[in-house]
Amino acid sequence: MSELLANKEAATQAVVDFMTKKSKTKSKFYFNDFQDIFPDDKLREIKKVVNLLVTDGVLEYWSSGSTTMYGLKGGGKQHGSEGEA
């Protein structure tokens, strides 16, 4: 596991920064987008950390039913305004 991924605070900040930086163009990310943040880590290791961020309320899942994506909690479309501008 890389130093960045092993340090929860730094990893959280890196994920938040990455998503915030791209938030003008997209608010939902595929899981393998996290590999850009942690290029030296195995996806299974990344998965453990990313799912902790969901449990901690930093991220949230978005699912179409067939595909799941990740987004910053409260970012992008929410179910209360699903489909609205």
Partner: protein, 441 residues
């Protein structure tokens, strides 16, 4: 009187088939009367509104549903699928109408008290409409509101010891046949393996990290009652590698049309098919023609048998599966969307099924495949599409399985062979001096 007029839906009831419209109307009426005194936690007229929005979709020729969303239970990235109606003013009862997937028990064995408990929760906290079962095999609960989701999950897990199923980019709820719990053809205990892998891969079931969906299905014999070869990314089909066991006396009873030995165990008894003809009904239909019946003795060339099960199905009292049993692993089946539908391709012809070592031979294949697919798979790319894109050979490399004749579907059509260095004697290095002895510059 119905809340919404539904002339187009009514027409669907006029055919000879059982109609889901009739079922929904019945459920709408049950909820309206509420003779059981249920304390409904979602709108009582949800099913009426469901009929109404469906009628509107027929009228408009377009859907009025949006699917997807952030709904779910804490810590899970699957099992709940957000559904929203885009006509909430007209149909408030289904403004939020989420689907929940509940993991079905192995072999779909139910007790009535379980089903009663499940429907009791769902009548109160959902629409009462179920789909038993969805295409993947789950119990599908159709239609509830966001605040009810955690409540339902709590009751399922705490009162019924029941988990949600998979959805999204997860391992989907594994599904199996009855296996050795009831079936004499079972080559392995599909219920035990399905249960073990479901527990073993809880993280993959509930915390999405795959490029797309991934399905396991388990058929305990090649009859394939759950059609795993067509319906799952990874299919586990029971097989054997020794000889089919033959009871020659029983074979002759079938040939003599003994009434205690009906062909196909009497499954087609309803019609007079004429006397049993072993040549026509068994030997002639063997796909590899590996059987013969001479001097009242049935002989099988087992080396050419492909375990199609036809002879065993036709004469079940005379022929039995072999004793050296295991399973074959097939990979890559999928429905259309990209590249069209695919059946599974044989990856491992025979794998030991050993619960004593936690099915090590099976889990190592699974995890090698997952590592490859997670690294190399594009977003929304199924395993079968990755195999098509990178090649079956690549998959053999990542799983460490040597190529075998059973992997060849048809003779090679590509005349070019790309050797790897370790496949060539001496590798790429050569002794130039030795070479020049025979070839001038």
């Amino acid at each position: 009187m119905a809340k919404h007029e539904t002339p187009l839906l009514d027409q669907l009831e006029s055919g000879p088939w059982p109609s889901f419209v009739s079922d929904m109307k019945q459920q709408a009426e049950v909820r309206a009367k509420n003779e059981a005194g249920v304390e409904f936690q979602i709108p009582q007229d949800a099913v009426e509104d469901l009929l109404g929005v469906l009628e509107l979709s027929f009228k408009h020729g377009r859907t009025h549903w949006k699917h997807g969303g952030i709904v779910g239970v804490f810590g899970y990235g699957g099992g709940v699928i957000g559904r929203y109606c885009d006509q909430p003013q007209s149909f408030p009862g289904v403004a939020h109408f989420h689907t929940m997937r509940v993991a079905q028990p192995c072999g779909k064995y139910y007790k009535t008290d379980y089903l009663r408990a499940l429907t009791k929760i769902w009548d109160m906290r959902g629409s009462g409409i179920t789909n038993m079962h969805g295409a993947t095999g789950d119990i599908i609960l159709l239609g509830t509101t966001t605040p009810q989701i955690e409540e339902i999950f709590y009751e399922l897990t705490h009162n019924m010891n029941q988990d949600l199923g998979g959805s999204g980019s997860n391992l989907r709820t594994p599904a199996d046949c009855l296996g050795s719990s009831r079936c004499e053809y079972a080559c392995y205990d599909s219920n035990a393996l399905c249960h073990f892998l479901t527990n073993n891969y809880q993280d993959e079931l509930h915390r999405p990290a795959f490029p797309y969906k991934f399905k396991f299905k388990f058929d305990a014999c090649p009859n394939g009652c759950v059609a795993s070869i067509a319906r799952s990314d990874m299919s586990f089909i029971g097989t054997w590698r020794d000889a089919i066991k033959i009871d020659q006396d029983a074979v002759n009873k079938y040939v003599a049309n003994d009434s205690a030995y009906p062909a196909n165990a009497g499954a087609h008894k309803g019609k007079d098919w004429g006397p049993f003809d072993i040549e026509k009904e068994v030997l002639g239909l063997c796909p590899t023609k590996c059987m013969k019946f001479e001097n009242k003795t049935l002989k099988i060339d087992n080396s050419n048998c492909t375990r199609c099960m036809h002879c065993i199905n036709t004469m079940p009292r005379a022929l039995r599966i072999g004793d050296d049993r295991g399973l074959s692993v097939l990979v890559g089946a999928k429905a259309p969307i990209v590249d069209g539908a695919q059946m599974g391709s044989l990856l491992a012809p025979f794998v030991e099924v050993n619960p004593d070592n936690d099915y090590e031979a099976i889990t190592s294949i699974i995890e090698n495949i997952w590592d490859w697919w997670m690294e190399e798979g594009k977003n929304r790319e199924r395993l079968g599409e990755l195999i098509m894109r990178q090649g079956f050979q690549k998959m053999l490399e990542v799983t460490g399985i040597d190529p075998q004749p059973q992997h060849v579907a048809y003779p090679r059509t590509n005349p070019y062979i790309f050797w790897k260095e370790d496949e060539v004697t001496g590798g790429w290095e050569r002794d130039v001096v030795e070479y020049r002895k025979h070839h001038l510059r």
